[in-house]
């Protein structure tokens, strides 16, 4: 049992934490919270030298996103990390991990909208601007060598997206805009890049995490 308590916590503290987190997130039952905590500890324990007792650093977390949830876009993965890392200390703590996953795996549409908006709002000013969209969509079109201006397509795409989502015509997408657009058309939730796990990998993760610990 000591293997799964690398965070210098007493067993009691550990249990307490599980309880608090369980109450906090509501979406996971106690068993599931414990399983996720175990996963967290395993991950954090993989690189003991990097662990300063605070949690997963950016690289570890990105590895999780990449390997488990099949994300590929570096920028988006960074942003997902930032969205998980609520206190901006460059580490995802246990609490942030559980809370993040609750949205990731079982979030309601509203929560997901909020999460995605946070991811897409690169500079965190509360708006997704043209530049941000351009940045995120930059590599979304196959570059054709014949094309006069390789960026023209992307710019056009940005305009299309803006036309679709910018309800108040201020040339940027506010949270209200985004929410409205997604409610209107769910497909737009991950409009600027995949930042949530797809159903398959989410299921696989849950199965893996919850079942493994059941066996133990």
């Amino acid at each position: 049992m000591s293997r799964i308590r690398p965070l210098d916590m007493s067993r009691k503290q550990y249990q307490q934490m599980a309880d608090t987190l369980c109450i906090l997130t509501k979406r996971f039952n106690r068993h599931e919270v414990q399983c996720l905590m175990k996963v967290f500890n395993t991950l954090a324990g993989t690189f003991p030298e990097r662990r300063v007792g605070v949690g997963l650093d950016r690289n570890t977390f990105r590895n999780v996103l990449h390997n488990t949830f099949g994300m590929t876009d570096d920028m988006i993965m960074d942003r997902v990390f930032r969205a998980f890392d609520k206190d901006n200390d460059s580490y995802v703590s246990m609490r942030e991990w559980i809370e993040g996953l609750s949205i990731f795996l079982r979030g309601t549409l509203d929560e997901k909208i909020k999460f995605c908006f946070e991811v897409f709002d690169l500079n965190g000013d509360g708006f997704i601007s043209r530049e941000e969209m351009f940045h995120m969509l930059k590599s979304s079109l196959i570059k054709q060598p014949t094309e006069e201006d390789p960026d023209e397509g992307v710019k056009d795409l940005v305009e299309i997206a803006l036309k679709k989502m910018d309800y108040d015509h201020d040339n940027k997408v506010s949270y209200t805009d985004f929410e409205k657009a997604v409610k209107d058309e769910n497909l737009l939730l991950e409009a600027f890049g995949p930042c949530l796990p797809d159903t398959k990998s989410a299921l696989a993760f849950e199965e893996h995490a919850f079942k493994k610990s059941k066996d133990e």
Partner: protein
């Protein structure tokens, strides 16, 4: 200027570094503009002009040392400029080798100043030696690279990095200047290139054809004649011998004008010119050029022949032959048809060719456009050099700077798209590919004047394009589809969402998506792993598949197979959308077959399986399941229009699932479910299932629904199922009759009305139901519906009346409510089904004598009788049946029948029919007719006896009954009894007695009784063992039968007695 130099300028050889600039007007003008630019820069932009090049421009000059003036230090064989930078001279000339090195624009300008005469040559030499001068001036990162231009970005980075570096800013300015020059150069080049259009075989051919149609002996013709020297045309369109084709010759013409000698003309790709004429003693041509080259035939002839020019102008007043300016193209086209009318020349029908010709003349245009586009992108790049890529100012600035060009660009783009829009689908594909190839060929087109074949292709291309007003959606959609094709998941989803914002219900958009190849892309998306793309694609397909053309296209592209596969997906949204789309597409047979053959029916039936819907609170997931089931039902509904699919649904176990869904409280679920059932109820197996699975209850319940559509489908289902007696009874016991009748009030919904009246009709086949209907007082309502309703309703209303009229009370009601009048009127109709029902109804009514008198007064019998002439056997039979009660109940029936000229012959001849029902009905009618002696005599004359006899071998009981009846009635005239015996009717009749049908027995006994008055018949009967059979029948309860049987036996017995008596005498 990099682009202009590499592409526009005409180099002698392609090799880098060794090429020479050809001395062509185009190049000269290029050089001149460059010289002007150099001078302009040094005078207007001193800062930029002073910028030291990264590497000096170096070339071999032909200048003399003496040419250099006071600004230079001359020391021996080298000349050095006084101006220098960090000790290095900005100009260095070594007279021994002739090599000159220049490092600033200032020096360049000065150099040009001191050599006013050698300007051109020096510039040329300089450019030849420095193929990419910009790279030398600003560094290798600014080298002109084919395809993309990153130089701007490099510069930008530099500026960003080194804000303090004033050099960079100057560099950038210089670069911008150079870019502007580049553009200027391209522009001028284009103007030049576009003037040089070469002839091709098509153009010449159409020219000649055109001229031929305006040639002849008359004064007003433009030419006397114009002919080819050779009739043989090679596959490439040329008529010149191959060894001359290599020189560019296309064909040779012999032209007789009104005012000159015969002209021998060569048309070559270079132009049109006079040749040496025919060689003496042979048909060969002296190919040498003998005069100037003209750009085309018309110009040539105008120059050569005055009359041609004059007459041409006259013709032009009607017909714009002038083809110089492309802008006149549209106008010309509009005038053509008018002119065709004015000018009666029959030959002039090759409108197509003419178009081609016109297009030829303007074929330089697309090239212009493409280049312009390229230029525009340069403009943009220039302007976007500032840091904010997207700031609005940038855009406006761009517009300010070059509004014309942008407009032009848009304009040409639009015409292209317009043309394409008009194309039919197969052409479309070809066209698209051509366009693609053209797009990829932009760079080549710029660097060299396009080759012959390229032009031809473009020509064909253009031909398909014609001007129409194009909906703006078209090219917007085209753009979106482009992103669908070339985007990753994210871009695809955005494009899909944007596409959904178009009005997908409009045919314009639907067809536009098809025409730009969007359907293929959308279907391809379904085959990917990306759920979102699939959902988005299906959402669009679901909408546009409401269009029949799209449905066919999708089926042709194999969309159904993929959608059927998607039905297996675990995502419920996907399943729903796929099923709904299938529901839309499966509106035609082939599609339904495809669905079945790919296992779609089983999968769709599988979708129906969901939780019992009556449970009160459902989770979101369960709601989804129900939605899936609903979509599955929708698809099955579409599919169930094919018989094989109905079987497949049944075999896949669909019936119990449908029965389960039928309990649903939701209309949107019930409509497809009942729709499917209703569609399938044409199969007896389904009718049985509907009865046994107790679905009648639900059908009846839903008759009270709010939704008229649902009511209609329920009524239709009942209509079809009520063919079975048990179902009819079930409808009654479930109190379904009253709601059916209630539906009559919705007389504005004709479909519903037709369904409801149909259900009533079928239900009224049961007498108990008729009684119920009597209580519900439907007769008056039905009679009201006899007027002003569409045929579908009328058929059912009349059918219902016909069934109800079997009740004598109802017959009286019909009479009192004035129903007979409209019924008889309907006898003049043409609809077969309606006529069958009307005749039946009239026949039923005629059973009452009072009704009959009304029918008679309306001349209804004559109308019925004339219906016997209809070729449709159903109508014939029904009319003949209806005639029976009419003849029976009419006063003076015999007189009435005789009054129909040719009527009796007509009805007797119907005995030649091979339809049992017709025969039976005619026999029945004949039996009634034969009641009147005179009429009997007439039909005997028409040969009724042998015809009836020939029918006696039938095995059909109904026909046997009426046939025996007819025989019995016909016996009463003349020697018909003997005739029946002679034609062999007796023996088969005896065998009728072995039938199990008592009605047959009675009729047969009567017939035998009549026949037995003839002794010979008695012998035949006896031989066939009639006595025993009759004796058996005599204990029947049917008195008529008893009497007839007894009579027959007594006749036989009497004959036997008489025989014995005779023997013992």
């Amino acid at each position: 200027m990099g682009i202009a130099l590499t592409r526009a300028a005409q180099w002698t050889a392609a090799g880098i570094g060794v090429g020479k600039l050809e001395f062509t007007p185009l190049n000269v003008s290029l050089l001149n503009s460059i010289i002007k630019f150099v001078e302009y820069v040094s005078s207007k932009h001193p800062q930029e002009a002073a910028l030291v090049f990264r590497e000096p421009l170096e070339w071999t000059s032909k200048l003399e040392i003496s040419a250099f003036g006071s600004d230079y230090q001359i020391s021996g064989k080298t000349v050095v400029s006084k101006e220098n930078m960090d000790g290095n001279p900005l100009l260095l000339f070594e007279a021994s080798t002739g090599v000159i090195k220049v490092s600033t624009f200032n020096q360049l300008a000065k150099l040009l100043e001191i050599t006013p005469k050698e300007k051109l040559k020096e510039t040329q030499a300089c450019l030849e030696a420095n193929r990419d001068p910009i790279a030398k001036m600003l560094g290798p990162s600014f080298a002109t690279v084919e395809g993309e231009d990153k130089s701007m970005l490099h510069l930008l980075e530099k500026v960003k990095k080194g804000d303090q570096d004033p050099q960079a800013e100057i560099q950038m300015k210089l670069f911008l200047l150079l870019q502007q020059l580049d553009m200027q150069l391209l522009n001028t080049t284009l103007q030049k290139i576009s003037q040089e259009v070469r002839l091709n075989p098509q153009a010449v051919k159409s020219d000649v054809q055109l001229l031929q149609s305006f040639s002849g002996e008359g004064d007003k013709t433009v030419l006397k004649s114009i002919n080819y020297t050779s009739e043989y045309e090679f596959s490439n369109g040329c008529r010149a011998p191959p060894w001359r084709q290599v020189y560019g010759d296309i064909c040779y013409l012999i032209i007789n004008t009104h005012d000159t000698d015969t002209l021998y003309v060569t048309c070559s790709t270079a132009g049109v010119f006079l040749n040496g004429g025919l060689m003496k003693d042979s048909e060969d041509i002296i190919y040498d050029r003998n005069g100037d080259i003209y750009k085309d035939l018309i110009t040539f002839l105008k120059e050569k022949s005055l009359t041609f020019a004059e007459n041409l102008t006259q013709v032009q007043q009607n017909f714009a032959l002038q083809k110089k300016s492309p802008s006149s193209r549209k106008a010309q086209r509009a005038e053509v048809p008018i002119n065709e009318e004015l000018d009666q020349s029959e030959k002039f029908t090759d409108y197509q060719d003419k178009n081609k010709l016109e297009k030829k003349k303007t074929s330089s245009k697309p090239k212009t456009r493409d280049t312009k586009k390229e230029e525009q992108s340069y403009v943009k790049k220039n302007l976007e050099s500032s840091h904010q890529l997207f700031s609005k100012d940038d855009k406006t600035q761009m517009k300010d700077q070059d509004p014309d060009k942008i407009k032009q660009d848009k304009g040409t783009d639009e015409t292209v798209a317009t043309g394409k829009y008009r194309c039919k689908a197969p052409q479309e594909k070809k066209h698209l590919s051509q366009r693609a190839s053209r797009a990829s060929g932009i760079s080549e087109e710029l660097s060299e004047s396009s080759t012959e074949s390229e032009e031809e292709q473009e020509d064909m291309d253009r031909q398909q394009e014609s001007n129409t007003d194009l909906p703006s959606e078209y090219w917007q959609i085209q753009k979106v589809v482009k992103y669908l094709k070339g985007g990753n998941q994210t871009a695809t989803v955005i494009a899909l969402c944007s596409m959904r914002d178009f009005n997908l219900a409009s045919e314009t958009c639907q067809l536009a998506i098809r025409d730009v190849g969007g359907l293929e892309v959308l279907i391809n998306l379904l085959d990917t792993e990306e759920t979102k793309c699939k959902i988005g694609s299906l959402k669009i397909l679901k909408e546009i598949s409401k269009n029949p053309q799209i449905q066919r296209c999708l089926a042709d592209l194999g969309g159904l197979q993929i959608m059927v596969k998607i039905l297996d997906s675990s995502n419920k949204d996907l399943k729903c959308l796929a099923a709904e789309t299938i529901a839309n597409i499966a509106r035609f047979r082939r599609a339904r077959q495809t669905v079945r053959l790919h296992g779609g029916i089983q999968r769709l039936v599988g979708l129906l399986d969901c939780v019992p819907m009556l449970s009160a609170n459902l989770s979101a997931e369960q709601e989804k399941d129900i939605e899936v089931a609903r979509c599955g039902a929708l698809a099955l509904w579409s599919c169930s229009k094919s018989k094989k699919n109905k079987d497949a649904i049944r075999k896949a176990g669909g019936i119990p699932l449908l029965a389960c869904l039928l309990k649903s409280p939701h209309e949107n679920m019930l409509i497809p479910v009942v729709g499917t059932l209703q569609e399938c109820a044409s199969e007896p197996s389904y009718r049985l299932a509907i009865r046994t699975e107790n679905m009648v209850t639900d059908l009846v319940r839903n008759l009270n629904s709010e939704s008229q559509e649902l009511q209609m489908h329920c009524a239709r289902a009942i209509f079809k199922c009520a063919e079975d007696e048990e179902t009819r009874n079930l409808v009654r016991t479930h109190n379904g009759l009253a709601p059916l009748v209630k539906l009559f009030s919705k007389s504005d919904n004709k479909e519903l009305l037709a369904a409801a009246t149909g259900a009533v009709w079928k239900c009224a086949i049961s007498r108990e139901n008729v009684d119920r209907f009597k209580h519900l007082r439907i007769i008056e309502t039905l009679i009201n519906l006899l007027v002003g309703q569409p045929e579908e309703v009328l058929i059912n209303v009349v059918g219902a009346l016909g069934q109800c009229a079997r009740d004598h009370v109802i017959r009286a009601i019909i009479r009192r409510s004035g129903g007979i009048d409209p019924l008889v009127n309907l006898l003049t109709g043409t609809n077969h089904a309606l006529l069958v029902n009307v005749t039946k109804a009239v026949g039923e009514c005629a059973v009452d004598a009072e009704n009959m008198s009304i029918i008679e007064s309306l001349d209804g019998v004559r109308l019925l009788w004339s219906l016997l002439k209809k070729p449709n056997p159903d109508i014939q039979a029904s009319a003949a049946w209806a005639l029976c009660p009419c003849i029976e109940n009419a006063k003076e029936a015999g007189e009435m029948v005789r009054s129909f000229v040719g009527g009796l012959e007509l009805i007797v001849n119907l005995l030649k029919s091979d339809n049992i029902e017709v025969l039976a009905s005619v026999c029945a009618a004949l039996a009634k007719i034969a009641m009147d002696e005179e009429n009997l005599a007439v039909i005997t004359d028409h040969g009724v006896v042998p015809m009836l006899s020939s029918l006696t071998y039938t095995r059909d009981d109904k026909l046997r009954q009426h046939l025996a009846d007819a025989v019995a009635c016909c016996c009463k005239w003349g020697n018909n009894r003997v005739a029946f015996g002679e034609t062999g009717a007796v023996a088969p009749l005896v065998h009728y007695l072995k039938s199990k049908n008592p009605l047959v027995h009675r009729a047969t006994a009567e017939a035998l009784h009549q026949l037995s008055f003839d002794p010979k018949n008695c012998i035949t009967m006896h031989e066939n063992g009639v006595v025993k059979l009759l004796l058996n029948l005599m204990d029947s309860t049917d008195e008529a039968l008893q009497e007839a049987a007894a009579g027959c036996i007594s006749n036989i017995r009497r004959l036997a007695l008489a025989n014995e008596k005779a023997r013992y005498k």
